[in-house]
């Protein structure tokens, strides 16, 4: 799989470099405009109209967000290709092109997208901390006084999956079969891949399918499709959205597949977990783009903690460094515990940190992590229940199921 991905990356990089060079060298002024536009969508149109250039840039940025969020990859491609062709067609003959040096980094436009995406994700998270944005989010939260109502479809699936692991199958079933989850999956499938079939979970959607499998709701055909999807997937488990693998969803899917007898899926996921998604500078990626095997951004602390703890529970950790994730995230988890459970991400991090206490013999961390009361966010509460389930010495049967 690594060789395959490496070859793809090499081919993609080479092809884009060759095309860029050809456009610049042989395409003249038009070629330069096209390359500029591929590098920075909208830039190739700035000589025609600043407004058009800005509109294209904003549209491209929004489409990248949609791509990262929902796997809608054809939209940014369409915008970039369309605006690049338009910039070439609209380029004035004889007009001195903008600095040629702009063309040379064109070969690296994909990594630039990675940088842009990471920047967008960072900006988005930073924006949520701004006073005005915080007020808006707070008002939205108050419109949904029930925390469960405010939970998004994907978090709902994750909550259901974790509850099922914690032994609360009844509640897990109710959550996993929420029609909003299927509605979202249907929307994403339609927009990203033009899927119109009766089953919204035919491909991808790792979290909802994991929740349904763990709750025991999937029928025979659905289970077969789940297995088949996993066997075809680069990561060994279905993606969360088309072409996007996310750590927690993938780990939950691997757990679910293991429970329905597909142990190979767990092994393949474990390989991806400690190679492609390995710890780098104490972080794991927020997403993994499967076509070229590229890591995007860094996973939120809680997701890193939850996914790594579940992986640890199933023996999918690095054989020589079983607690490397714990060492990497320990201090940040203690910081979350100090900040308390008022913020959702902190509350989830605290609960996810408690999962790790079943494996890490760390009295100080146990004392600190056990102090905050986890009671607001449903996913945090579910993770906390799972942590208690792991720690309960009386509950041997379920622990044996969960712990390899």
């Amino acid at each position: 799989m690594h060789a395959r991905l490496g070859l793809r990356r090499a081919v993609a990089g080479s092809v884009s470099l060759v095309i860029s060079v050809c456009l610049v060298v042989f395409g003249g002024h038009v070629g330069a405009h096209v390359v500029q536009n591929v590098l920075v969508p909208g830039l190739g149109l700035h000589e025609q109209s600043w407004w058009l250039a800005v509109a294209v840039f904003v549209a491209a940025t929004a489409s990248i967000v949609a791509w990262v969020q929902w796997g809608v990859d054809w939209v940014p491609v369409a915008i970039v290709v369309g605006s690049s062709v338009a910039s070439g067609v609209l380029a004035e003959a004889g007009h001195e092109p903008a600095a040629r040096w702009v063309a040379s980094p064109a070969a690296h436009e994909f990594p630039l997208v990675v940088v842009v995406v990471t920047g967008i994700v960072w900006l988005r998270n930073a924006a949520r901390r701004l006073p005005l944005v915080r007020t808006v989010l707070e008002r939205r939260r108050r419109r949904h006084p029930e925390p469960l109502d405010a939970l998004g479809a994907v978090d709902r699936s994750r909550t259901a999956a974790v509850l099922a692991l914690a032994g609360d199958v009844e509640r897990a079933t109710v959550l996993a079969t929420d029609p909003r989850i299927a509605a979202r999956a249907r929307r994403v499938g339609l927009i990203a891949r033009a899927r119109r079939g009766p089953d919204p979970f035919v491909r991808d959607h790792a979290a909802p399918r994991a929740a349904l499998a763990l709750a025991g709701v999937l029928d025979g055909d659905a289970i077969d499709r789940f297995r088949e999807d996993a066997s075809r997937a680069v990561a060994g488990v279905p993606a969360s959205e088309p072409t996007w693998v996310r750590p927690l969803d993938a780990t939950l899917a691997a757990v679910a597949l293991t429970r329905i007898g597909e142990t190979a899926a767990g092994d393949r996921w474990a390989t991806v977990w400690h190679t492609n998604l390995a710890l780098r500078n104490g972080h794991r990626p927020a997403g993994w783009w499967t076509p070229l095997g590229i890591r995007i951004a860094t996973a939120p602390l809680w997701e890193h903690a939850a996914a790594s703890a579940l992986a640890r529970a199933h023996g999918w950790h690095h054989p020589e460094r079983p607690d490397a994730d714990w060492q990497a995230i320990r201090r940040r988890l203690l910081g979350a515990a100090a900040r308390g459970s008022a913020a959702v991400d902190d509350e989830r991090a605290i609960a996810a940190g408690r999962l790790w206490l079943a494996f890490a013999d760390d009295e100080q961390a146990a004392r600190i992590l056990s102090r905050p009361t986890v009671q607001h966010d449903p996913l945090a509460v579910a993770l906390d229940r799972l942590a208690a389930h792991l720690a309960d010495p009386r509950d041997h049967t379920d622990r044996k199921d969960l712990v390899a």
Partner: protein
Amino acid sequence: MISFRINCAQVWVRLVRFVCKVTRRPQVTYDAPPMPARSPARSAR
């Protein structure tokens, strides 16, 4: 002991009240204020 003829404690309270008025926050509450989040307030989705 010298004297500055200023009751620092009272002026302090008035300053605090002024700041609370300007920032529209109550001077005293009975639930602990939430910690300002260092990490993002919500997850990405």
